[in-house]
Amino acid sequence: MTSDVVADEVRVCRLNDLLPERGSGALVGEHRIAVFRLADDRVLAVQQRDPYSGANVLSRGIVGDVGGAPTVTSPMFKQVWDLATGACLDPVGKEPVDLRTYPVRLVGDEVRVAVTP
């Protein structure tokens, strides 16, 4: 591994494989992640596992915004997270648990997700 590589980067899909404002699941090594394409074609990635139910379902949540920040709502118990930072914005009466986020890079029409060691 050369010294300028700071993370394992994996090609996940092409941009057009993703529906705007909808999530998809992807496997990046051991990591199960949820990849979201926003209306402006920005792509963001967070962990797939819903910390409240333990099920791997976050890619199936509804995308939206809270005060302009892009969000996803868990389809299970409706907690809301900021997709860019992983911060839990509405824990629905539980203790807030943030999500792990993954850096995404668009190279041409390729969506690449990095897993920092």
């Binding site: 199960r32 209306a39 099920a55 199936r60 509804i62 995308v63 939206g64």
Partner: protein, 863 residues
């Protein structure tokens, strides 16, 4: 405010002994005083946790983390406050004005507040010291209970049986907690009924029926005479005074509490005969520098067993330390059962012991509810109430204790009344929220003087409704009425993106012909929407025939159920429920269902709506499962959407000796007519072939019951959280007229109901009531009948089967790929264990098998 403006010296060094809910309240109130002068507070608790909400202890079993119970921790960050945990106070020195903790910490005080609470009391019975005999009072007890159950179940290799001694509120909570740990509980109560302190004989009996339905075994008029040990020296059973021995691998005692007054006693403070540090209305003890609050204090010979009086006492002492003159008086009592899964609540003179008191009772053994009001001899003043099975009236009436009811007591209890027509304005001095001791006047002032414009803001401002939550319905009524009187519109905003209700948005989208979410949000909203408004817009577009649920630009609006056309279950897999109109299925198709379920290993069960549901389908398996079902002639059952779920029916004239109309054919006709119709909430229809009502049609949103002359149609029935029988809308209709009336009723509901508002509350809130609804729907008084008919006709003619349409479209099939970059990988976290010949998701700690088909062939752990 004092005009002289001189600074007081303040309370000085204050020490609170005890780190419970009342200590937290004390710290919070003191920190909130802006007129307090100089002070420093030290709170010393023996438990290792931050002060936590003991009232909601049982929620820990429902998955709430221990830390979630912590009471607002901000107060401990106040530089004037020190919190000591895990270090009990062992001695008070009243002369030197110091307290000493077990680790040797010596804390001097100017004012000392005892808030040591109470302990669980266990009678001296043989065997209570055996391993496996536990209490249910603290977080530590909860941890012990869980650990014991987990270890014992592992050691014995079977589910456990348990016994709870004491059938009071806490005992029932403990029994429910055991159930969540898969322990079958028996509740043993010395008195002749459950919750003997809070309920009368009728209420106790109603509660027994309800908890027995939940799977608890109940023995009343029975004392626990001995805890029996097994061969290994651990608890194995409980011997009762009836001679019976109940087998039990764990025994939980919940036989009452005793005030913890040991420190006070040792220091020489006066304690009451029945225990507790004696205090007067100032909550001051026999030493003028020492106060006692909460369950350790004895006021007028009694110790409080609830948090509300403790909080009131804390407020009183804070006020005095700040130079005030507040005194404590007993607040309205009242108890509500929580976390057990059945409702029971009471307040006031439950047994009608006051001279001349009258009891007005309504018991419905079918609905399993019991309601009683106790009133003065002239039937005017409310003295108490008992509610079991349905406690809606409890929060509305408890604040009226000791006041004129304002209406005939029976009007409150009558089943049709439902509390709606009789609603009196709550006087200002009535305590609305007794946990936080907030009066109706304070709530109104929050709106009129402090500018609150919503229930949420009033909660933050006054703290009303933030502890147990039972007053929230009444709080909402008072807040909304005050807002209306002040000329402030009660917000009907759906979310931050749309400042209007669903019905208003529906009318706008319809009038302006908007076709996409982007158009709708550009015209009437802000931002990119959320999980609240997006599905609402999708539903509106779908109901109007503008945007179908399968249209590509609708995909980002749909809830996962509508997106994947199946019902999300707890482990992330889906259930599949094919349509079976009228509940009929041919033997050939039944075989197909069986083969599909077998081949995919799906868990199969018959639903309450006479359909066959198959559980455990992975996202990626759904298309393959549908392909086989669709090929056999099945259609999407829409069991996933906010739409028609099913039409339940009896066999009717076709086979039944008593049927007077062909209910099954009518059910099939209605189900095929309304299949796929998106609406504000799911809705259900029932058709019965005679007045025997075997289809339970009156429990449905639309209920149709055959008569000799035709069909009667009922609307607004509901199962679920707030069960309700439907009301008669029209009588003796012929087939076509029936369909027309149902069309118009549903179209009107789709147009004008709120988001997630079911038909029962919609009908109840319809302006002008059921009479007006009848005029509009049956008599077409507004002249919109033809319009409503056309809306349903457009839906019927535009219907396509959603499963088939998905299978025919390769683009849509890509939604079902679980991992974009590895289409063949399935979710490796799924795990299943065998149960009764099938397989269900593994629970935490269970070792499951990844493959459903394999899991169902494994050997089941013995019972």
């Amino acid at each position: 405010m004092h005009s002289e403006g001189t600074a007081r010296t303040g309370p000085g060094r204050v020490v609170v002994v005890g780190g419970g809910m009342v200590a937290h309240r004390f710290a919070e109130q003191l920190a909130a005083r802006t007129d307090a002068g100089e002070w420093h507070l030290t709170v010393i608790g023996e438990e290792p946790h931050l002060p936590y909400d003991r009232v909601h202890l049982s929620e820990v079993f429902a998955g709430r983390a221990d830390a979630d119970l912590a009471l607002a921790p901000e107060v401990w960050a106040d530089p004037r406050v020190d919190l000591v945990t895990g270090d009990p106070v062992v001695a008070l020195d009243l002369a030197a004005q110091t307290v000493t903790t077990r680790t040797g910490r010596v804390e001097p005080y100017d004012a000392l507040v005892l808030a040591t609470g109470s302990r669980a009391w266990v009678p001296r019975t043989e065997g209570v010291d055996l391993p496996g005999v536990l209490c249910y009072r603290t977080l530590g007890d909860v941890t012990d209970l869980r650990t014991w159950v987990a270890d014992r179940a592992a050691a014995l290799g079977r589910p456990l049986r348990g016994a709870v001694v004491g059938g009071g509120v806490l005992g029932l909570e403990a029994a429910a907690a055991l159930q969540t740990l898969d322990v079958a509980p028996t509740v043993v109560e010395f008195a002749d009924r459950l919750m003997a302190v809070q309920l009368d004989a009728g209420g106790g009996e109603a509660l027994r029926v309800l908890v027995t339905d939940l799977g608890m075994d109940v023995r009343t008029s029975a004392a626990a005479t001995r805890v029996v040990a097994g061969e290994d020296g651990r608890v194995a059973g409980l011997e009762l005074s009836t001679g019976e021995t109940v087998p039990a691998d764990v025994v939980v005692y919940s036989t009452g509490i005793r005030p913890r007054d040991g420190l006070a006693r040792a220091a020489g403070l006066v304690v009451a005969e029945r225990g507790g540090v004696v205090v007067g209305p100032a909550c001051r003890t026999s030493d003028p520098a020492v106060w006692a609050i909460g369950e350790c204090a004895s006021y007028e010979g009694e110790c409080a067993g609830l948090v509300a009086p403790g909080n009131a006492m804390a407020d009183v002492v804070v006020d005095q330390l700040c130079g005030g003159v507040k005194g404590y008086s007993k607040a309205a009592d009242g108890t509500k059962l929580k976390g057990v899964g059945v409702d029971a609540a009471s307040f006031g003179d439950v047994l009608a012991l006051a001279p001349g008191a009258l009891e007005v009772t309504f018991a419905d053994p079918v609905a399993k509810t019991y309601r009683k009001l106790v009133v003065s001899d002239d039937a005017r003043v409310l003295l108490g109430g008992v509610f079991v099975g349905d406690i809606e009236l409890y929060s509305a009436l408890r604040p009226m204790l000791g006041r004129p009811l304002g209406a005939d007591p029976s009007a409150f209890l009558a089943p049709q009344g439902g509390g709606a027509p009789v609603q009196t304005d709550v006087p200002d001095d009535v305590v609305l929220c007794s946990c936080s001791n907030v009066s109706a006047g304070t709530v109104r002032a929050a709106v009129t003087e402090h500018g609150c414009t919503s229930v949420a803001e009033v909660k933050t401002c006054t703290r009303a409704g933030t502890v147990c939550g039972s007053c929230v319905p009444l709080l909402t009524t008072v807040v909304n009425r005050t807002l209306e009187k002040a000329g402030i519109a009660v917000s009907s905003a759906m979310c931050e993106h749309f400042a209007m209700s669903r019905a208003e948005l529906y009318a706008l989208v319809r009038a302006e012909g908007l076709r996409t979410f982007t158009e709708v949000v550009a015209a009437h909203g802000t931002g990119r929407g959320c999980a609240v408004c997006r599905p609402v817009v999708a539903s509106i577009l779908s109901s109007l025939g503008i945007g179908h649920v399968l249209q590509p630009d609708q995909a980002p609006l749909q809830d996962t159920n509508d997106h994947l056309l199946a019902n999300l279950q707890k482990d992330g897999t889906y259930s599949v429920v094919p349509r079976m109109p009228g509940g009929e299925v041919t033997p050939e198709r039944l075989l197909v269902l069986a083969e599909v379920a077998r081949d995919f290993g799906l868990f199969t069960r018959v639903t309450g709506a006479q359909r066959i549901a198959m559980f455990g389908a992975r996202q990626d398996q759904l298309p393959a499962i549908w392909r086989r079902l669709v090929d056999a002639g099945f259609e999407s059952g829409q069991a996933y959407g906010k739409s028609l779920r099913a039409v339940k029916t009896c066999v009717g004239q076709a086979w039944c000796r008593f049927g007077v109309q062909d209910s099954a054919s009518m059910a099939v006709r209605l189900e095929l007519r309304y299949r796929g119709l998106r609406s504000p909430h799911k809705f259900k229809v029932g058709v019965s072939g005679c007045a025997r009502e075997c289809a339970e049609a009156r429990g449905k949103d639309v209920g149709v019951i055959a008569t000799e002359k035709g069909w009667n149609v009922y609307v607004g029935g509901n199962g679920g959280f707030t069960p309700r029988h439907a009301d008669l809308l029209a009588e003796d209709l012929d087939d076509d007229r029936l369909v027309q009336v149902v069309d118009r009723f549903l179209a009107l509901y789709v147009r004008s109901a709120d988001r997630l508002q079911r038909t029962a509350p919609w009908v109840a809130a319809y302006p002008g009531g059921l009479e007006e609804l009848r005029r509009v729907v049956v008599e077409d008084s507004l002249g919109i009948g033809a319009e409503l008919d056309a809306e349903v006709e457009r839906h019927v003619s535009g219907y396509v089967d959603e499963w088939r349409a998905t299978l025919d479209d390769p683009e849509k099939l890509r939604r079902f790929t679980p991992y974009l970059n590895d289409p063949d990988a399935a979710d490796p976290d799924l795990a299943y264990v065998p149960q009764r010949g099938q397989a269900r998701p593994a629970r935490p700690g269970e070792h499951g098998h990844h493959d459903l088909r394999v899991a169902r062939t494994l050997e089941e752990a013995p019972l």
